[in-house]
């Protein structure tokens, strides 16, 4: 049981009766919550009129051509989803095998294997700190020429952005997976090794099949991270406002669209699409958070139940 001070009625607590720290901290928490509420309210309030008033060239339509009064963002919605999913398709399996490799030294713990693991583990942590704009900058000069030569086109395309996004979400996925998988593996370790399994066997036969919730929540949170990133799509995806159709063609995501609208347009219907896109991102990520929270809660309960 965890001691909590809330069990003691307030008036009996101190000689002075009131606890000044409590009110100060409650004030701080109040500011934080107020900020969060304000964020949600503002964006929803600005987006709501756009949702309700439907017109021909409005944000729900298909084509983005501000010169002709067409302000549809369907292509951007599709672009965001497609790009995030493709990045996930590359990044998630990569993250999974990397995480398994980190926790499953194959034959014993030779000095080289151990140092290789600690180097890669350290590198993954470092990757969480690399600014996305730096990723984007390096990829503009490194990756895009490569992509241009392999698949043709300009190099600023779906494929480049997906590859870079996969790298971006990799540490998120590895860290989430290792937090979920490592303790399960630890529990199996002495007994499982004594039976003649290797760590990788244990991971494959016992841990992974039982850890569906961890796998799924890393998938969901990785998606959230990929769909929310701005700089990599903005710098690498070409930003053509068209439905994504080939991996060598450009696409435009919601985030990149927002960044472009603020820098290029002033007011009017273009701004409507801005708030629309913002509200959609808010919604997507709120769903992702809720989903992840559900998964975490239920897997925690499962673990608790299993231990008893």
């Amino acid at each position: 049981m965890k001691p909590s001070s809330s069990a003691v009625p307030a008036e009996e607590r101190g000689a002075s009766g009131r606890d000044p720290a409590r009110s100060v901290l409650r004030f701080a928490a109040g500011i934080a919550v107020l900020g969060i509420l304000l964020l949600f309210l503002m964006i929803i309030a600005f987006a709501l009129p756009v949702f309700t008033e439907q017109s021909a060239g409005g944000p729900f339509s298909r084509i983005w051509a501000p010169g002709q009064g067409q302000f549809g963002i369907q292509a951007m919605i599709a672009g965001s989803l497609v790009l995030a999913l493709s990045a996930l398709c590359i990044g998630w399996p990569f993250g999974l095998v990397l995480c398994c490799w980190l926790f499953c030294p194959v034959n014993g713990q030779s000095g080289f294997a151990r140092s290789a693991r600690s180097i890669v583990g350290f590198l993954v942590r470092i990757m969480t700190a690399i600014p996305t704009v730096v990723y984007g900058f390096a990829a503009v000069f490194l990756l895009t020429p490569l992509v241009r030569e392999t698949v043709g086109g300009t190099g600023f395309c779906w494929l480049s952005a997906a590859l870079m996004l996969a790298v971006l979400i990799l540490p998120t996925i590895v860290l989430l997976l290792s937090a979920g998988l490592a303790p399960r593996l630890e529990r199996l370790l002495p007994g499982g090794l004594a039976l003649g399994f290797t760590r990788m066997d244990l991971m494959w036969f016992f841990v992974l099949p039982e850890a569906k919730k961890t796998l799924f929540s890393s998938l969901v949170l990785g998606f959230g991270r990929a769909v929310g990133d701005t700089l990599i799509p903005l710098m690498l995806a070409g930003n053509a406002p068209q439905m994504p159709y080939a991996c060598s063609a450009g696409l435009r995501t919601l985030t990149a669209h927002m960044a472009m609208v603020t820098s290029n347009e002033v007011g009017g219907a273009a701004y409507n699409s801005l708030f629309m896109a913002g509200a959609l991102l808010l919604l997507i990520n709120a769903l992702v958070s809720l989903c992840a929270c559900r998964l975490e809660c239920s897997s925690r309960q499962e673990r608790k139940g299993g231990r008893r």
């Binding site: 001691p3 934080a32 600014p131 984007g136 399994f197």
Partner: protein, 295 residues
């Protein structure tokens, strides 16, 4: 032992993945260093302006990144100033005072904020300005203070989560011992719990610093520009390292400017990695303290 083919495949993949990662990230960092390292001289920061004049703003720096550095520095400082009280305070409140129901509600809201893309925070700041323009202050414009407020919102979850974790890592036996000695909850907090968790909280603050320094999407909406000189005031436009990297990639005119971009990227990378290492150092030292001590 007989193992299925799929497992062999999986093991093969697991063997190549780290090599692939090392190659990818190694190439990336290596390339940046190779192009950027030669530019790392004083002239990268100050161009042709004398150092002292550039540093103090006596003369404008045209072809150096010092104004962007100063902008990032001011921005991050202001962000921390705004975020530390609500962030750390909310973390302490959640760890020590909140009832389970409020813990769930506030914790859920903070979690949700943690998952928000930074561009949404930027849009929030932008819409705040639009609101002000249409209501009380028609001349309101984006600027440093607005950017810092939005960044504060961005780093808030980091601060709340690390503070909460640091306090919850303190063994319950110490809480009980402090209460049994007759300390009020406030004194228990200020004399026992906070002093011993200060390293963990410090780690969180440094981590938040890194998040604020690297972000680009928020400030794109809230007043960053490519040429503003040294930051002048709370409501003025400003420059930042991250934005100048983006701007260089999109609009560079000549080779010198491009090389400056590489230098800037390397500087920002260095700052971010150093901040991360500092945060890890603080937190690790803190965690080691409780390993074995918590009987």
């Amino acid at each position: 032992m007989k193992r299925p083919f799929s497992l062999h495949l999986f093991r093969l993949a697991a063997g190549t993945a780290p090599a692939l990662l090392l190659v990818c990230v190694g190439t990336l960092i290596g390339y940046l260093s190779w192009r950027g390292a030669p530019t790392l001289r004083l002239s990268l920061f100050f161009g042709s302006t004398p150092v002292w004049d550039g540093l103090t703003g006596a003369r404008p720096v045209w072809d150096g990144i010092w104004p962007a550095c100063a902008g990032t520095l001011c921005l991050v400082g202001l962000t921390l100033l705004l975020a530390v009280f609500p962030g750390v305070g909310c973390g302490i409140y959640l760890a020590e005072y909140a009832s389970p129901a409020w813990k769930r509600r506030i914790g859920g809201a903070v979690n949700m904020l943690a998952g928000m893309p930074s561009i949404v925070m930027g849009l929030f700041g932008f819409s705040l300005i639009l609101l002000l323009r249409h209501s009380v202050a028609p001349r309101a414009n984006t600027g440093m203070l607005l950017a810092a407020s939005c960044l504060a919102l961005l780093v808030l979850p980091v601060l709340v989560a690390t503070t909460r974790e640091a306090l919850e890592a303190v063994p319950d036996s110490l809480r009980l011992a402090a209460s049994a000695l007759g300390m009020t909850p406030a004194r228990r907090l200020s004399h026992v719990l906070l002093p011993i968790s200060v390293r963990g909280i410090g780690g969180g603050v440094v981590l938040a610093l890194g998040r604020a320094a690297e972000d680009t999407a928020v400030i794109m909406f809230t007043g960053v520009v490519a040429n503003a000189g040294l930051p002048a005031g709370l409501t003025d436009k400003f420059e930042s390292l991250s934005f100048s990297i983006y701007y260089t990639a999109a609009q560079y005119q000549d080779q010198a400017e491009l090389l400056r971009g590489f230098g800037t990227a390397l500087v920002l990378l260095g700052i971010s990695v150093m901040l991360l290492c500092a945060a890890r150092f603080l937190e690790n030292g803190y965690r080691r303290r409780w390993r074995g001590g918590d009987a």
